[in-house]
């Protein structure tokens, strides 16, 4: 648990990239914003000259692996990584062992997050018992638990049964929940190893066709609209998916969607190395898809960036491609990748980055106290980012337990300097507190 509970005066930060001001953080809230604020007694001054201040980031899609795979990540190690990435709230996915399909498991995860104290950990509940896709888990009990679960997902596995999906969408309406679908038609992707296309054909790896994602998204959008419920689409990865979601939104479907940082920058030709660090589900797609995803995120078709942070131990990746685990870590590099792919390209302003990475995910997940404006009276959840401090990503230097980052060696344009969770610094001077 971070020590300093005191008062902090942030000097000269640029809120959402605007002109520099000072921000005073007291008792967990922002109490003053303005130029040249006086230093209160006992306040710690944080020099933020040149740094951009954003509301603390909110991740709607994080795998913390606990319980079950504590060798890959724990709630504590994962939330430290989150803090290092500028996050003040994360959603812990349900595919743990045991699966987070009961109030007991989600409360355990929630409590582990509270104890660690680096960010708010909001458990995601499983849609179906054991992620088996057969019957609904006790969604209501999880919603009413201390963890106040609002996001339900079988992530990693698609709720492919159309009737079950309909029921789930309907059921969560009772407590304003949302079903976050991992859109993957299972029969079309049996044994799939990578994006189906020129590269998979050349490499002799079974393909994961775009249509397997798009068909489910189309179906779910129609279902959600039919029953008047909220649908969230996890890790959209194809141009066709962006088109379908755009179409669904136009016809009034209450659908939201996320894109991961890796799908905003990496393409399937990286698989030519057969290095499983690039193995992920959904798979890396083509440059055309990457461009469509960036445009979709820019025009709001895709609402948010979510990391799908998926830690794996070394042995799960130091193997043949086909036996390697799917997934890559992303909490600590997300903001840098978004800066590089969306801000440097002129597709998003910092104001919009705050929306896509904080406000919108908090809204979708119904996370109170996060994703708020940087304004007096609001909770002091803030990240300070240096946009002019390029870093070479070092897999060995990650704060989480696993180093399976596909960005290793890549140069990212900036770095997180400080993260405040309700006024308490979880990261200062680029180091975990």
């Amino acid at each position: 648990m971070p020590e300093n509970q005191g008062t902090h005066l942030i000097r000269g930060a640029r809120p959402l990239g605007e002109d520099p001001v000072d921000l005073l953080l007291e008792d967990g809230a922002i109490t003053a914003i303005g130029p040249d604020l006086p230093i209160p007694d006992g306040a710690e001054v944080v020099d933020a000259t040149g740094l951009i201040a954003l509301p603390g980031l909110v991740d709607l899609h994080t795998h913390l692996r606990e319980p079950g795979r504590e060798d890959a990540e724990t709630v504590a190690s994962g939330s430290r990584a989150a803090a290092m990435g500028g996050y003040t709230a994360v959603h812990a996915m349900a595919n743990t062992d045991p699966v987070a399909d009961t109030a007991g498991v989600v409360e355990q995860v929630w409590r582990l997050g509270e104890e660690a104290g680096y960010c708010d950990v909001r458990p995601v509940g499983a849609v179906t018992v054991g992620l088996a896709g057969e019957r609904l888990s006790e969604i209501g009990a999880m919603a009413d638990s201390a963890a106040r679960v609002r996001v339900f997902s079988d992530d990693g596995i698609c709720v492919s049964d159309a009737l079950l999906m309909r029921r789930a969408l309907e059921y969560v309406k009772a407590f304003d929940g949302v079903i976050a679908q991992h859109a993957q038609e299972p029969r079309l992707t049996e044994g799939a190893q990578m994006n189906e296309g020129c590269v998979s054909d050349r490499l002799g790896l079974p393909g994961w066709p775009a249509v397997a994602e798009e068909a489910i998204i189309a179906r779910d959008c129609l279902l959600a609209q039919h029953v008047g419920s909220r649908l969230h689409v996890c890790h959209v990865s194809t141009k066709g998916s962006v088109d379908i979601i755009r179409w669904a939104k136009e016809r009034g479907c209450d659908v939201t969607a996320e894109v991961t940082p890796h799908h905003l920058i990496l393409t399937d030709d990286l698989v030519e190395s057969y290095d499983p660090v690039y193995k992920v589900n959904p798979p890396l797609r083509t440059a055309e898809d990457v461009q469509a995803l960036r445009e979709g995120l820019a025009d709001g078709t895709i609402d948010i960036v979510a990391t799908d942070h998926a830690p794996h131990p070394v042995e799960a990746k130091e193997t043949e491609w086909s036996t390697a685990a799917m997934g890559m870590i992303g909490l600590e590099t997300a903001l840098g990748v978004v800066h590089k792919t969306m801000v440097e390209t002129g597709l998003l302003t910092w104001d919009q980055v705050a929306d896509r990475m904080s406000a919108a995910p908090a809204r979708i997940g119904r996370v109170g106290g996060h994703g708020r404006e940087l304004a007096v009276g609001e909770p002091a959840n803030i990240v300070l980012y240096d946009p002019a401090a390029p870093v070479d990503v070092d897999a060995a230097a990650m704060a989480g337990k696993s180093g399976n980052t596909p960005f290793r060696g890549m140069n990212l344009p900036g770095r997180i300097i400080a993260t405040f969770l309700r006024g308490v610094p979880t990261v200062l001077e680029g180091k975990i507190k």
């Binding site: 189906e196 054909d201 490499l203 002799g204 790896l205 393909g207 057969y274 043949e320 491609w321």
Partner: protein, 302 residues
């Protein structure tokens, strides 16, 4: 080049050098002493994760004819079957001082991974549904020996293109060497992006046969039927099997090739398999010379 991982990595000069070298080394099989001292003191490991007596034996004989020490490391009954990872196996081989590792693996790309972990040369002896470069080289060698050239040769590769490592390597290599390849299969057994491959695509064997100098038949596993790649063995055989009647529609000097093992009655009739125009046994014999050439060129120098 330190490794032979993909036929696509070979330039035309390199591929030609391998074929020419194999041509010289073919004589060794006819001599009283069928052995050369070239790789004396070098260690070649045959690391076979899939059963393939034919390919393993061919590599073993090739290495022994070059006087290399040969170790057969098969997945069955070894540490591999006890769950040892490929990386740990690689480190073991490295510690044993393997100069070359010949690897057959069911996972596409396994040889690429292995090449990251050991200092010696890695020879891909077939990886999953990816490639089988020495098979393509020996096929090219056989075509050149039979027909005198590769440039401009019209080669039809018929069968399960989607899952065939032989097809992938042959399309890449033969194109590099100036031949014109047509892949022939039902659309379900074609890769989805096959139209971007450097070859022609046909769904109709009968249209391709009269225009082919070489027809290479690939093995089709009957199990594919259960995954609905085709309705029945009978229907596949009727449309894509090579029988006497179809053989007669090929140009007079055209040859029939098969990487083996053949499924008689499925993709090839017994009559065609036994015909003098079928080069199956030559392919096997050429395989040894060709693999000697590759081993020499990878391991013989500094």
């Amino acid at each position: 080049m330190r490794h032979l991982l993909s036929a696509g990595d070979l330039s035309r000069d390199e591929a030609t050098l391998i074929l020419d070298t194999a041509g010289e080394l073919a004589q060794v099989g006819d001599r009283s002493v069928k052995k050369l001292p070239t790789l004396r003191g070098r260690t070649v490991v045959n690391l076979f994760y899939e059963d393939s007596t034919r390919t393993r034996t061919s590599f073993e004989l090739a290495a022994k004819r070059l006087s290399a020490d040969v170790i057969n490391f098969s997945a069955k009954g070894s540490s591999v079957s006890k769950g040892e990872s490929l990386k740990d196996t690689a480190l073991t081989l490295q510690a044993m001082g393997a100069d070359g590792v010949v690897i057959r693996h069911s996972a596409s790309g396994a040889p690429h991974r292995l090449a990251n972990w050991i200092d010696g040369s890695v020879l891909n002896a077939g990886d999953g549904t990816h490639e089988h470069p020495t098979q393509a080289l020996l096929d090219a060698f056989t075509m050149r020996a039979r027909l005198g050239r590769l440039e401009g040769l019209r080669v039809a590769v018929v069968g399960d293109i989607l899952h065939s490592r032989v097809a992938r390597s042959n399309v890449l290599l033969l194109t590099t060497l100036g031949a014109h390849v047509t892949v022939v299969a039902p659309p379900t057994l074609m890769p989805v992006s096959v139209h971007t491959w450097p070859c022609q695509v046909s769904y109709h064997l009968d249209e391709v046969l009269p225009e082919s100098d070489v027809v290479m038949m690939l093995r089709v596993q009957a199990e594919r039927m259960h995954d609905s790649f085709f309705p029945s063995v009978r229907e596949y055989s009727r449309n894509y099997g090579l029988d006497r009647e179809r053989l007669n529609r090929m140009p007079g000097d055209a040859i029939v090739m098969h990487p083996g093992p053949m499924v008689r009655g499925m993709e090839i009739s017994a009559e065609v398999a036994d015909s003098p125009r079928c080069t199956v046994t030559e392919q096997v014999a050429n395989g040894v010379s060709l693999r000697m050439a590759v081993l020499y060129l990878l391991l013989g120098g500094s």
